[in-house]
Amino acid sequence: MNISEAQYTTAEKNIIRVVDGSNTRYIPVDPNNKDYVEILEQVAAGTLTIKDAD
């Protein structure tokens, strides 16, 4: 994924809204979801920060 923005959609933090290239995608907080795993890798690498919900 080419993520430029990431933000939880709710205070419960169970879905992350990401801007992936020209698409807005919704990634469940699920360790079996490959996109969530990739987000965690980018967060761990310090290249991505997930904002709290508005």
Binding site: N2, I15, R17, N23, T24, R25
Partner: protein, 417 residues
């Protein structure tokens, strides 16, 4: 007493005496007539475990490349990895300047209607050490328990597929166990300008059991281009711990010329040391298997994007309006997937065309009882995701609270490995 070899020309009646061994070359084609054996003469118990599997032998879904829910053809690929055309087959593109077109093409050996075609559009002849390009197929561990991997009785497995190209080339097919520190094994195969069936038998691996779950346990990867990080060693031709330099030794480069093409279909991975005939199945059977990993509400032949006419999607859903304090008015709707997903999928929403004016991406339409179909005045959000359903929150300030409404939009759900 010395054993004597007997040649039996025929047995008119009666039974074959016990302890007679019939050598292979003594049974010629067509010599065993249909009435030569009585019903039940050979019971399943006399066959080996895997030979009993007359169906569901192939653990590869969509090996005949018949299903392509996302797109039929995508150009300019190569900058990033992903699933682009035929279902279940991921393109791995790491650090290469090479570019290609990926197409589900109506071509194949006899009996196959489709194949996956790769066409190099930008060559990359200056190969950096970390470059990698190929086709990846990932398998769930729970679907591979019959391989008996990691036990003393681990079975051999046989990979078979049909390939051709614009010219002769050599590539590598590799199995990698992602549950056990990426143990791997590979073999080279040759491509010619004619369709050729490649058959590769891998030994059973007595080390490392595969997890019995829905996550990726075994990867099948076709290496078509790689830098020295993957090519500088000795090809790993027996199961062993990961040595990166041993993964793609001896391969040609798909990106060596813009003339280069690669066609593949009929991919089958099965238990045993014999490549059986490819196990064809109905389009619908394959499609349903693919839906476990990817599903959209677009009709076949239309692909997830903003602006597809609503009549080319299954896009109208009932919803109920409620007011969220400080959050505006939401029309909540949900949709149950046709097939339960492997896990909670990533969701993308799209605008459909033909139901109200406007062209803002990621906005669904709703039916306003006062004014008819309208595009909503705020973005649509995914509210819930599970392996069985997703819920969308459609927002419009004119929606009346507690009113039953109809909304319309496009979506795709991605639960690939």
């Amino acid at each position: 007493m010395a054993r004597t070899k007997l040649k039996l020309k025929s047995i008119a009646s009666g039974t074959i005496p016990g302890r007679i061994k019939i050598a292979n070359e003594n049974i010629t084609a067509g010599s065993v007539d249909s009435d030569a054996m009585g019903a039940g003469a050979i019971s399943p118990a006399k066959l080996s475990d895997f030979a009993q599997s007359l169906t569901n032998r192939n653990v590869i879904i969509n090996g005949a490349m018949n299903v392509a829910q996302r797109q039929v053809s995508v150009t300019g690929l190569g900058a990033s990895s992903g699933y682009f055309t035929v279902d279940r087959f991921k393109m791995v593109c790491n650090n290469t300047a090479g570019r290609f077109t990926m197409t589900q093409t109506a071509d194949g050996p006899s009996g196959f209607a489709n194949c996956l075609k790769l066409d190099c559009t930008t060559a990359d002849t200056s190969i950096a050490s970390n470059e990698e390009f190929g086709i990846l197929y990932r398998m769930e561990g729970q679907d591979l328990q019959h391989f008996k991997k990691g036990t003393s009785g681990a079975y051999k497995t046989t990979l078979s597929f049909y390939v051709k190209g614009n010219a002769a080339a050599t590539y590598v097919a590799e199995l990698m166990d992602s549950d056990n520190s990426s143990r791997h094994i590979g073999a080279t195969f040759n491509v010619t300008t004619d369709w050729t069936r490649v058959e590769i038998t891998f030994p059973g691996d007595t080390t490392g059991t595969l997890d019995d779950d829905s996550n990726a346990s075994l990867d099948l990867q076709f290496f078509l281009h790689a830098g020295s990080n993957n090519t500088s060693g000795t090809l790993q031709t027996s199961w062993g711990s990961l040595v990166q330099a041993n993964r793609a030794v001896g391969i040609s480069s798909f990106f060596d010329s813009t003339d280069r093409t690669f066609f593949i279909t009929g991919i089958q991975l099965e238990v045993g040391e014999t490549a059986t005939e490819f196990e064809h199945e109905t389009f619908n059977a394959t499609r349903y298997k693919c839906l476990r990993y990817y599903e959209t509400n677009y009709e076949d032949g239309y692909y997830p994007a903003d602006g597809v006419t609503y009549s080319n999607t299954y896009s109208t859903f009932p919803g109920n309006c409620y007011h969220q304090t400080g959050g505006g008015r939401y029309i909540m709707t949900s949709h149950r997937f046709l097939v339960q997903k492997r896990t909670s999928p990533s969701m993308t929403l799209y605008r459909v065309a033909g139901l109200g004016s406007g062209s803002t991406a990621n906005r669904w339409s709703w039916f306003n009882y006062s004014a008819g179909w309208e595009l909503t005045d705020d973005s649509t959000e995914v509210g819930e995701i599970s392996s069985q359903h997703h819920g969308a929150l459609v927002r419009d300030t004119e929606a009346n609270v507690n009113e039953a409404l109809v909304v319309a939009g496009g979506w795709q759900a991605d639960a690939e490995l």
